[in-house]
């Protein structure tokens, strides 16, 4: 019996803690569980969530992508700026291409050259920050004809009563989930993350597989940038700052292992949504903005701890 409770706590402890948190917030802040607030949270989550989809691919191979935060900034600046120069459609295409290209560059260094993922993407984070300032000359950009462009639909529109960004996130999640669960690409990702050596002995091109996960990560961040630019109708030079950690926290919180090989998209969707509700709840409870960061930190530590604990149990038992 005690064993059972321990097991339940270990496996679902985070979920239980989350439900308790929801209850506490709901009792103390009436607005929390209203449809309007929930949609707000989901709209908020759709940007980090979209990024987290691609990052999940990367993490499943046992690697990291910390460059997504400043990549989001850069791409948002690009999409807004190019919108003003050449119109919405070319701007979006260009943004997607730029995202994929930068992802490919990460993938090249990490997959083929074999450099450490943490170092490469951290360096990329810092490089892109510089690139943003170079590109924008330090000033913020705004969409000029904000009233009459269809570009607004991605961040502000709604369809059948649901916000378009939320719909984009959910359809992205479905596609990503299907790819991971049912295609050979997905299978290769799990294999490389589970045991890279054995995958190579099975004829899987591990560098190529890793490369593509970074391309996917660049692409999902590009889609997130389109949503972001459209929602804000502009871009500041710091708009994506810190997003890499929120995204990673969501992925880990869902239970996808940092060691690679186990996890899934639906876990990421749950993890990132939990994080969204936690942050929103804290605000509604009247805590200042920065408390979110303290809590995000704590959540990352606890989730990683549980992940390693479970792994250890598996190795030694």
């Amino acid at each position: 019996m005690g064993q059972l409770i321990k097991n339940v706590l270990r496996r679902h402890g985070l979920l239980l803690a989350f439900l308790v948190f929801l209850a506490v917030v709901a009792v103390n802040a009436e607005a929390f569980l209203t449809p309007g607030n929930i949609l707000d949270v989901l709209r908020q989550v759709s940007i980090t969530g979209m990024m987290a989809l691609g990052v999940t691919f990367v993490v499943l191979t046992g690697r990291l992508d910390l460059s997504v935060g400043s990549l989001l900034t850069l791409l948002t600046v690009i999409v807004v700026d190019q919108h003003n120069i050449s119109g919405p459609f070319p701007a979006i295409v260009m943004t997607l291409l730029a995202g994929a290209a930068i992802g490919a560059f990460n993938g090249l260094l990490i997959g083929f050259v074999g450099l450490n993922a943490l170092i490469v993407t951290l360096a990329m984070l810092s490089f892109l920050q510089g690139l943003v300032l170079f590109y924008s000359g330090g000033s913020n950009v705004n969409v000029q004809n904000a009233q009459d462009t269809w570009f607004a639909v991605f961040g502000r529109g709604s369809f059948l009563g649901l916000p378009v960004p939320v719909l984009l996130f959910l359809s992205g999640a479905i596609v990503a989930g299907l790819v991971l669960a049912f295609t050979t690409f997905g299978r290769r990702i799990y294999a490389v993350g589970g045991n890279e050596t054995a995958s190579i002995f099975s004829g899987i091109n591990a560098p190529w597989t890793v490369f593509w996960t970074y391309v996917v990560s660049g692409l999902t961040t590009a889609i997130a940038a389109v949503i972001m630019g459209s929602r804000v109708m502009g871009a500041q030079n710091t708009i994506g700052q810190g997003y890499e950690l929120t995204v990673l926290a969501g992925v880990i919180l869902g239970g996808t292992s940092l060691l690679g090989g186990s996890g899934s998209i639906w876990r990421t969707v749950i993890g990132i949504s939990m994080l969204g509700f936690i942050q929103n709840g804290l605000l509604l409870l009247g805590y200042p903005y920065y408390v979110q960061w303290l809590v995000t930190w704590a959540v990352i530590i606890i989730a990683v701890w549980i992940d390693l604990g479970a792994k250890r149990g598996r190795i030694f038992a």
């Binding site: 049912f182 299978r187 090989g261 598996r314």
Partner: protein
Amino acid sequence: MQDVILKVDGITKTFPGVKALDNVSFDIRPGEVHALVGENGAGKSTLMKVLAGLHQPDGGEIVYLGEPTNVSNPLDARQKGILLIHQELSLSPELSVAENIYLGAWPTNRFGVLRKKELRRNASAALEALGCGFGPDVRVGTLSVAMQQMVEIARAEAFRANVVIFDEPTASLTDAEKEQLFHTIRGLQARGVGIVYISHKMDEIFDITDRITVLRDGQVQGTIDTADTDLNNVTRMMIGRTLDAYFVKAKAEFGAEVLRVENLTKTGLFREVSFSVREGEVLGLYGLVGAGRSEVVETVFGVRRADAGKVYWKGGDIGLPTPRQSIDMGMALVPESRKEQGLVLMMGGRENTSLPHLSMFSELSVMNKSKELAAFEKYRSALSIKTTGPDQAVSQLSGGNQQKFVLAKWLCADPKLIILDEPTRGIDVGSKSAIHELIAHLAEQGLAVVVISSEMPEVLGVSHRVLAMSEGAVVAEFGGAQMTEENLIDAVSHHRGPMVAE
């Protein structure tokens, strides 16, 4: 001293879907070597893990030195004097020998600072007692498998163990190293240590043990004195039938050449290796552990790069292929180490089986699960693999059953050439002869087969032709009546092979 050191009484252990141990009772006496035998998945390792504190039993009790005892974790077991030497060694390669011997129980002073001198002194004493040829300061990663095993055994001295459990200790030892190990075991025995010895190698069981306990499907079939029984009897208790002592060899009807290797060289590993194998032929590669056999076949398959040499496939020069190209041509390599090279441990049997042939198991890149399931089921019954289902993580399977999935994943695509690197390591006697029959069967269907084995009877029994390798070079080739144990031993031991070029 009491006549029983440790008694296991009615132990039961259930995993989801399997009763690994069902009311198991047995005892260990001081100064005896007690064999524990049984088929793959019979529960041997599980029982020993219960004794060593890695698993908690669901029921039953352990009576140790006359008192009911609860072993809560491996360190606790060690400190109580129960030591498990694992099926897969578990040392920290970056740490020194001394640090490894006392892993987790380092002597420290009041402030938690390591007392290095004491650690070294105690470790040297333990190593000397065993007659090890290396000191306490060597980094474990630089030692051979046999030496690493000695480090684990040194814990028996260091912790004054009363019970030492060996789980398949000779799987990767040479014959000389095995003799050394047996010498050590006899030394422990003379000191009154009770020893449990798990192995699938029956000759060892009859060589060194005093009593034998047979497990089957988690239940004890009986405990007998080794002197009062014979191989047939033990086999019958294990698998319910007896086995033929001879090997089935495929009919010697060869077709066209499938693979030819010419002057393959990799500096520091092997030199100017040449051989060929034809359809329907079984080629044996014999040599001591470390002779470079695995490195050669890994290079042919493409996971390693050679410095020089040529590989011909069906007469055509294929340069140095990648593993993908090799697989697509019809080559299969069952690698030496199932956990590192063979399997993705967190995947189930189904996903592991299809892994090398994803395009075969998919349409337009979408995996076809029913095809995968069909292959899984086919090999589960063909190789009698014990698993609760297609998605049970292979990490949860017994060592031998994992090995069978490594075979399954390579057989399922009907290769033209299959290279088997120690294919029966850790496999029980029944399945072992099933695998030997399978090799003969494959060859008769026209496959070319290369078998690497350190077991001489096996390599002589299944092959049509045997190459002897030593220190990275092919030193002799034997066929027909020349294929004898004497010739092989002679070739690999007396021959000081040409030193591998640096």
